[in-house]
């Protein structure tokens, strides 16, 4: 007979989970494995709320295994380390991001690209190598193989640093891979949400000129005076869009709704690169002429490997880059999700897990 989430593993754990595609989160009792010899047990302090969490609880992409405990922007304290663990000790401040497992022996894993391992398992809503389901960071603690644990740099605050574990690496990885870090070049950031605002900060840290591209002027002052963007382009202003044609070397497109690529491609110079990071539910329309006539590129990228995630955290620590967050209590998560669906957050909710998650 199948074991229940509470009895599947030896250690009872409390968190909040969603049980169906209404996406409503509520207290949920489950269990986690014993701390194995390669494992680190992390008492969770904070967990960021990523848009993927929202998509998953509502089964927008059609592959949610209910019940699901989301959360993959986790910062906490190591409370136990297995006997083979060399990189961490009890009391260390650590992070866990999007990936909790991989085969550790394929070409991608050998290249520190666990994110592209065909057997990669996500921190939540995935089946681990022992056949059990992974539950994420909207919970008291998590047990993870040391390979998938990150050292959290000293000067990065735990709460505003947490979103870097997904949002940060999601923009950092393609910027490095696709060569979008040449100082003086011009980066467009389409969409100013969790990913977008971090992309502006990281872009500035690489010495790029950064233009935020948005459908409304609402966030213009914020983008320039607070986030440090050099300019702001409203896509619904035809004159400004026309003046900006062919001016950008790169565009990071973080928009998660279906949207038009044609005007964005027009903003790129010849040989320009547009990296699509948002995950719209339906395909986008790709006009071929701008792509062909300007040798332009649309590429994708999926978080980053663990080595690169550590590099990103160290880079952000060096440049004092954190996310702009709104700290919430665990029991405020459902209204936070409703607001997230309307992009009503500047720019990431972070759950104060340690101080607000209490079993009933």
């Amino acid at each position: 007979m199948a074991k229940s989430p509470e009895t599947e593993h030896p250690n009872k754990v409390f968190g909040w989970g969603a049980r169906d595609k209404s996406g409503v989160l509520s207290p949920f009792h489950f269990s986690r494995r014993d701390n194995g010899e390669n494992d680190v047990t992390v008492k969770i302090l904070f967990c960021g709320v990523c848009h993927t969490d929202l998509h998953t609880i509502k089964n927008d992409w059609g592959y949610t295994y209910y019940p699901v405990v989301p959360g993959h922007e986790i910062v906490g304290i190591a409370t136990k380390v297995g006997k083979n663990v060399t990189k961490f000790k009890e009391g260390d401040r650590v992070g866990v991001g999007v990936i909790a497992g991989s085969c550790q022996s394929c070409e991608s894993c050998d290249q520190d690209l666990e994110n592209y391992c065909p057997q990669m398992s996500f921190t939540y809503n995935a089946i681990a190598s022992d056949g059990t389901k992974n539950y994420g960071g909207y919970s008291e603690n998590i047990v993870v193989d040391q390979r998938f644990v990150l050292r959290f740099p000293e000067n990065l605050p735990s709460d505003s640093g947490a979103p870097l574990l997904c949002a940060g690496i999601t923009v950092y990885s393609p910027m490095k891979y696709y060569g979008m870090t040449e100082a003086g070049k011009h980066l467009g950031v389409a969409g100013l949400g969790g990913l977008g605002h971090v992309a502006v900060k990281i872009g500035k840290a690489f010495g790029l000129k950064v233009t935020v591209i948005s459908s409304s002027s609402k966030k213009e002052e914020e983008a320039i005076t607070h986030l440090g963007a050099d300019s702001f382009l409203v896509t619904t202003d035809p004159q400004k869009m026309k003046a900006a044609i062919g001016t950008m070397d790169y565009i990071i497109d973080t928009i998660s709704a279906v949207h038009a690529l044609y005007p964005l491609l027009g903003l790129l110079k010849v040989n320009g690169k547009l990296i699509a990071l948002g995950l719209p539910e339906k395909p986008l329309e790709l006009p071929m002429f701008p792509l062909v006539l300007g040798r332009k590129m649309v590429g994708g990228s999926d978080v980053g490997g663990l080595k690169e995630t550590q590099e990103m955290l160290d880079f952000c620590a060096k440049h004092n880059i954190t996310a702009d967050i709104e700290l919430i209590k665990m029991d405020e998560i459902n209204s936070a999700m409703e607001r997230l669906a309307k992009s009503d957050v500047r720019y990431r909710f972070v759950i104060d897990v340690a101080n607000s998650l209490s079993p009933p």
Binding site: S108, Y116, P174, Y177, G246, L261, Y262, V270, N271, A276, L277, G278, L279, P280, P283, L284, E285, L286, P287, M288, F289, P290, L291, V292, L293, G294, R295, K296, M297, V298, G299, G300, S301, D302
Partner: protein, 357 residues
């Protein structure tokens, strides 16, 4: 006011959106000090000629003399021309001019210069309209002239000037020219068959991807492809998922990208060189989950075109052609619209193009 053109020329022009070509007399400029004048021997028919003749893209100016896969023999060179002499075998491709001073021009990428002048149907810097190679002779700036290797038959070499460089350029630019790589070629027409030949010359494993079985024998036994994949066969497609480093997509009709993206390995590149007029559906998730990319490309720079033709000379690569007379052009265009050609029509200009009486 436009420049006065002194030299008489004759050829075939489309005069309206019917795209029907008929005899046409016009003039070309005198040979300037940096110009090369050459008698046209052969001119390939590219699908673009058909689209332009019928104004499918909305920017055709009539009368239009098409033709940008032009080879011939030099008859006269200007005083400052250093690279060519009378009697040389030369060619001209898609471009006849560019600004010579922007970043693209400086990088040898004249094809991306914002002021690039098309060989046919564009306004030149002297305000006159360019007329292409469906004509008795051409005069062109030295910088845009390509030398044809001696060992290449001129009729089979002509299509390389557009089809050849169109596939060669992105293969080099995107690093798909390394021996042992697995390259897919979608569509087996003018571009596709040349892509197979170049990819084999580069040492790639080549799989032709087609909608029907029909061309398998041809692709594998005659053109030298290593494998043939029918895109409408789900089992064949599934077995081939995640096996290709790059795909050269030459199809100019609307078609699904999702199955092609699935054929790519992680980091794979889907190169679009066909130019469907309608946008295609781009599923973003497979790009993201495999760090894959879709890129466009358009012909190549002059330096690259010369490099491509020299490589063709080294490996004896020519296009597979059907040589036609000038008075067959309209029938050829109708057949081209139905992809009924193996694989490029080439007009035997010197022997069959007659002046208007």
């Amino acid at each position: 006011m436009g420049k006065v053109l002194e030299k008489e020329a004759f050829g075939l022009a489309a005069k309206d959106e019917s795209g029907i070509l008929s005899p046409f007399s016009f003039s070309r400029r005198e040979t300037g000090e940096k110009d090369v004048r050459f008698k046209v021997l052969f001119c390939g028919i590219c699908h673009t000629d058909l689209s332009m003749a019928k104004n499918e893209w909305g920017f055709t100016t009539y009368p239009l003399v098409p033709g940008h896969e032009i080879v011939g023999v030099v008859t006269e060179v200007g005083a400052k021309v250093t690279k060519f002499n009378a009697g040389d075998k030369v060619g001209v491709g898609y471009m006849a001019g560019s600004c010579r001073s922007c970043d693209s021009c400086s990088d040898g990428e004249e094809n991306y210069c914002p002021k690039m002048v098309l060989t046919s149907g564009a306004k030149d810097f002297d305000d006159t309209m360019t007329h292409g190679g469906y004509s008795d002779h051409m005069v062109c700036a030295e910088d845009f002239i390509i030398r044809i290797p001696d060992n290449l038959p001129l009729d089979g070499a002509a299509p390389l000037l557009c089809a050849g460089v169109t596939v060669y350029s992105p293969m080099k630019y995107h690093g798909l020219d390394k021996p042992g790589m697995h390259i897919g070629v979608v569509g087996l027409g003018g571009l596709g068959h040349v892509a197979v030949k170049f990819a084999k010359a580069m040492g790639n494993k080549v799989t032709v991807i087609s909608t029907s079985e029909r061309k398998r024998d041809e692709a594998v036994n005659r053109l030298g492809a290593d494998a043939f994949l029918v895109s409408r066969d789900p089992k064949q497609m599934e077995d081939a998922m995640g096996t290709m480093d790059g795909i050269i997509d030459t199809v100019s009709a609307t078609h699904p990208l999702l199955p092609l993206i699935g054929l790519l390995k992680n980091k794979g590149k889907l190169v679009m060189v066909g130019a469907p007029a309608e946008p295609l559906e781009l599923p973003v998730m497979p790009l993201i989950f495999g760090r894959k990319m879709v890129v466009g490309s358009m012909v190549g720079g002059i330096k690259e075109t010369q490099e491509m033709v020299d490589l063709a000379g080294k490996h004896n690569i020519t296009a597979d052609i059907e040589l036609i007379s000038a008075d067959y052009v309209n029938t050829a265009m109708e057949r081209l619209a139905k992809a009924d050609v193996k694989y490029r029509f080439v007009i035997d200009v010197a022997n069959t193009m007659k002046p208007t009486s």
